[in-house]
Symmetry: C2
Amino acid sequence: MTQPNCKHICSNYHQAIEFIGKRWMGMIIYTLLSGPKRYHEIHATISGISDRLLTERLNELVNEGLVEKKYIDSSIKKVEYELTPNGLAFKEVILAIVKWIEFCDFESKETK
Amino acid sequence: MTQPNCKHICSNYHQAIEFIGKRWMGMIIYTLLSGPKRYHEIHATISGISDRLLTERLNELVNEGLVEKKYIDSSIKKVEYELTPNGLAFKEVILAIVKWIEFCDFESKETK
DNA sequence: ATTAGAATCTTACCATTAGTAAGTTTGTTC
DNA sequence: GAACAAACTTACTAATGGTAAGATTCTAAT
């Protein structure tokens, strides 16, 4: 955290957390962790997300190389979204968040 | 991820990532990891953040119990912000994100 | 073969959130 | 006691997100 390249790490961290922190982004990656999914499957899994933002977020994920978009049978209306290795690697971050939540829950129960 | 309490975890994860994903939130926690800081110190460290949002984010962090606000010498204009144990525990998440970034960088260099 | 419906966007419009800039109050320093 | 800094606060504009309707392509049923 205070190494020579702190500024580099810090700026990368800034970019990264602003990207993954965009609304619904975390949920979409989480959903795709259990395997590739169709557009409507993701939509059905994440309650509350709109078509507009799901499309937008998926495009951003594809552009950043975390998700791959596959046209099944070369059909425009048969699409599958799958995590790339970089997207899959995000699982460790999700696990850390889940652990952190559990720690916070535990703390709040201990101190009440 | 696919355990019985998946829905519970998932909804908590959703809440948590939407909270920590708010703009500047990650940077503010990151900054406080190196120790308690005054308002203007945080402001100086994070380039680009405005007074308005820094105040707002700090209030949210205090309300969620991740940060404690201390009035030094009981003075209204001498304030220090310090991470609580729950806030400190977030370090593991940050480390996971930093590792993930490094993995992604490595992958992109390998495959070009 | 035609029609109904689903899948995957796209567009237009309104609401919420963020950014900018100026002002306020208290505290400090010369 | 005047000038400046700290820590906000307020008012306004810009950007992002939410809602709802529509467009296009595919699939299934009659």
